[in-house]
């Protein structure tokens, strides 16, 4: 208790110091009247007008910031077993651009500029416990399975570790960890680290954790992100309850106590359809209370991460040529195959939400989209050519992730097991982008809450997206244009009322990540409920690179001729755009229908990480994995409410 109090004092002094430093240095620009970007915009639907921290640079027209909202450190029970010893401090240092050490001993360094924000989200279940067991003299060091857990025998380790996995699947806490002081200590450390590294205006950290609900092995995981630095004494974990409704009730309590927070689900692809089911976990049909509770607490979904992308599936979207992207069709942590896709993918869930809105008047699936890695190494891999996967000593080497055969073997002599091949299907994804007033906890969190956020599958692709009734002459690349867009339309995450006389206009601008490939196309994905009450989807290419135009019948850009040389991983130099812009009006608009639009931006193709691994090892890429990949961004939708 004593150390917490003195730490708290130190932290508040440090924050006060930083704020005062920035305040003194920034006073001049905060009062400079000449810069257009400082103007306040009156009464626009997206609630412009920053809550200004003294001296922190704010922009009412908003800037884009990138971050990873899902990182694990040694506090997580599974990371610790994977040999990961990175602390939250290490995770923050990595995000700022310093090298930290992988569990196998090699250095990991972020490619490109530092991240703007980050959330360290260790599993609340058994938080800090594995490390406590491994600590001499601790109360757990004497457990009968302690020695096995940290032995050198993988069989012994796996069997000892299985008890934790089973405990989570059953949702029953192991007796020896009832009200564990190890959890409280680790949580206090996690909170202190987040507060210690927070630099308003420069680098935002969040108090956060993961709610690891996995009933019977089906994935219902959520990450909990707090708005402020004030944290509850203990995080609500899946060992308290596996039911997300109980988590939401706890979050409502936290909010009432002044600690606003949201929960972000991920890996619906591993839920076998229960993540976005029409019934609750208890089997009851969803009602309006449920929908309100869900939307109050879960405004976003993490659509892409290491364990696959859950945007859509070829079985659900047979007319989407780009639907089969980084699919991961296994239950988490096992080789059991997913059999039910409905309810496991985000586009279909958004459509289900529209349908429920039109039939029953409420929508539990009105969420925006974000991306993250879920790396358990304390450090995310965002690029294909700089990939160190997810789980420490297990997949830190290429042979551990199924992309090359073990040393001394060839693809002729060696066939990877299904457990290894699973990891070959993992991805170098993803990131969250937000348009926020400032790089502060309030600025970023509020952007997340209003869904002015988008997901990328790794690269820092910038996308801006507005819809409105009267956006003639609005561009998104000048201060005047952006101001008009906020005044007359809504940004991603917003909602528009349909008008009888004209279809809404859509305006989009996208800029490539300079460290990745040029952009190939901008697509608009429309989902709606038709007059029979069925959900429909259609994709329109609305901007093509290289001055090309989408075909009038198929609504697809022609091939821009971009290629990848698989023997060198060099990409063609000509095709593709640094920036793509589009204005578009829906030719098939019906003002009586519930509908939504979201934007998908595709890069030119490049080598997938598995191909890079094979190239570096001098072997052929394993045929089961795609050889190339087109990284992309997905914006949060804009909903259209019918008359």
């Amino acid at each position: 208790m004593e150390t917490l109090a003195s730490s708290a004092r130190l932290i508040t002094s440090a924050i006060a110091l930083v704020l005062s430093l920035v305040a003194v240095a920034g006073l001049a620009d905060a009062t400079d009247p000449s810069s257009a970007a400082r103007d306040r915009v009156p009464g626009s639907p997206a609630a412009l007008g920053p809550r200004q921290l003294p001296g922190v640079a704010t922009n009412p027209l908003r800037d884009v910031y990138f971050g990873d909202l899902h990182i694990h450190t040694r506090h997580s029970f599974d990371a610790y077993i994977f040999g990961v010893r990175a602390t939250p401090d290490d995770a923050y240092r990595y995000a700022r651009g310093h090298a930290i050490t992988h569990a196998l001993g090699f250095p990991m360094k972020l490619k490109g500029p530092p991240l703007d924000f980050i959330a360290v989200t260790d599993h609340a279940a058994y938080l800090g416990v594995l490390r406590a067991i491994d600590t001499p003299g601790s109360q757990y060091a004497g457990l009968d399975y302690a020695e096995d857990l940290f032995s050198n025998d993988p069989e012994l380790i796996r069997d000892a570790f299985l008890r934790f996995g089973l405990s989570l699947a059953e949702g029953k806490r192991l007796e020896e960890f009832e009200d564990s002081p190890a959890v409280r200590t680790a949580w206090a450390d996690s909170v202190a680290a987040a507060n210690r590294h927070y630099r308003p205006g420069e680098f935002t950290t969040f108090v956060a954790y993961e709610f690891t609900s996995v009933p019977d092995g089906l994935n219902l995981h959520r990450n909990v992100i707090f708005r402020g630095g004030d944290a509850p004494g203990k995080p609500f974990s899946a060992l308290d309850s596996q039911d997300p409704e109980d988590l939401w009730a706890w979050l409502d309590q936290q909010r009432a106590a002044g600690r606003d927070a949201i929960a972000i689900p991920h890996n619906s692809n591993g839920s076998n359809g229960i993540m976005f089911d029409r019934v609750t976990l208890a089997g009851e049909p969803i009602d309006s209370d449920y929908a309100l509770a869900r939307m109050r607490n879960e405004p976003l979904v993490e659509v892409t991460q290491v364990k696959g992308t859950s945007e859509t599936h070829p079985l659900l979207s047979p007319n989407d040529e780009f639907a089969g992207f980084e699919l991961f069709e296994y239950a988490i942590g096992s080789t059991d195959r997913i059999t039910r896709f409905e309810g496991g993918y985000v586009r279909r869930a958004l459509m289900t939400g529209l349908q429920m809105e039109s039939e029953e008047g409420f929508n539990p699936f009105k969420f925006g989209l974000v991306g993250a890695t879920d790396s358990h190494n304390g450090a995310g891999s965002y690029y294909e050519d700089n990939y160190h996967s997810k789980i420490g000593i297990v997949d830190g080497e290429a042979s551990g992730r199924g992309s090359v055969p073990p040393a001394g073997e060839s693809w002729d002599s060696y066939t990877p097991s299904e457990g290894v091949v699973r990891r070959g299907h993992w991805s170098a994804s993803g990131l969250t982008g937000v348009w926020a007033d400032a790089n502060t906890r309030e600025g970023i969190f509020d952007a997340l809450r209003r869904k002015e956020a988008f997901a990328t599958t790794g690269p820092r692709i910038r996308v801006r997206f507005f819809a409105g009734q009267d956006l003639d002459g609005v561009d998104l690349v000048s201060d005047d244009g952006v101001r008009r867009a906020y005044e007359r339309g809504v940004p991603m995450g917003g909602e528009l009322r349909a008008r009888e006389d004209a279809a809404p206009q859509v305006v989009v601008a996208a800029l490539q990540d300079p460290l990745s490939e040029p952009l190939q196309r901008v697509q608009l994905i429309k989902a709606w409920v038709d007059s029979n009450g069925d959900t429909r989807e259609r994709i329109y290419d609305i901007a093509c690179s290289d001055g090309l135009k989408p075909d009038g019948d198929t609504n697809r850009c022609p091939d821009n001729g971009a290629t990848v040389d698989l023997t060198t991983c060099k990409t063609s130099q000509g095709p593709g755009n640094v920036e793509l812009r589009a204005t578009w009006r829906d030719p098939d608009f019906d003002p009586g229908q519930h509908a939504l639009y979201y934007i998908r931006v595709l890069e030119n193709p490049k080598c997938r990480w598995s191909t890079w691994d094979a190239l570096r090892a001098g072997v052929e890429p394993y045929p089961e994995y795609p050889a190339t990949i087109q990284d992309r961004a997905y914006t949060s939708p804009i909903w259209i409410r019918p008359r």
Partner: protein
Amino acid sequence: MLARPFRVLSREPMVVFFLVAVCLFAVNAFISPEEFAGGADRTIAVGPGKVVQLAESYQLLTGSLPSADELRNLIADFIDEEIAYREAVAMGLDRDDTVIRRRLRQKFEFVTLDTALIEPPTDERLRRWLKENAERYRVPERRALRVITFLDDAGRTMQRAAHARERLLKGTAPGQLGDQTLLPRDLPLTTRTGVERHFGTATAAAAFAAPNGEWVGPVASHYGAHLVLVEEVAAARSPSFQELRPLLLEDWVRAREAAELERAWRQLRSRYEVEVKLPDTGGPPAQRLQLSATE
């Protein structure tokens, strides 16, 4: 000569008893050798002081004192632990076990550090620390910029940028030049890293080398080319001692702890004579493995 004192002593009952006891012990040792030949001491005494210690440890971990049942368990647990410890030592289990050695080292370092009392530093001491580590505490330079961007998409970026620069010098408004992009056209006071985040390292370098008020460029980037105008420079500054004091204290204490540990190790090592004999099987030459007690 010894006969007379001996006869006197042997009439003393205490002496007789003593001699008898010694004989009995000798006989016992002969009959049950294991109790004495490196055997464990069979008496475990848990005094009131130890019980209080157990209760307080429990309180530290959980926040409340143990109930009667819990205390009973704690004591029983301690007794088992004590028995196991004695038996293990008797069996020699504490020797040559890597895990135990490692843990003893950890405990030793912890104990050593704990006993090296670090006195809180005076202000003067902290000022000296600040002076010695001035670079670490400087707030970096920040610049407010205007940037005109020429995207690769429209081609000929360096030529267009150069042409635009000439027009700027002739008085054309910057707003009329270059491409409109998602990249910012102006940045408030921003650090060099902040500029890199948008425009890359080359443009940031040019911006931070440019004189105030003068358009520089074209600078090439992954996007194409840029012209940059420095509108304002906020020089790097060193915050005052009072502003920095809490941070200085924290850093000083951490550095001092590390130094204390290192000093304690050096002292320890100097007490030992170390000889390392390498195998003859073609290992690295002996000079490269020089180990000195002061390292």
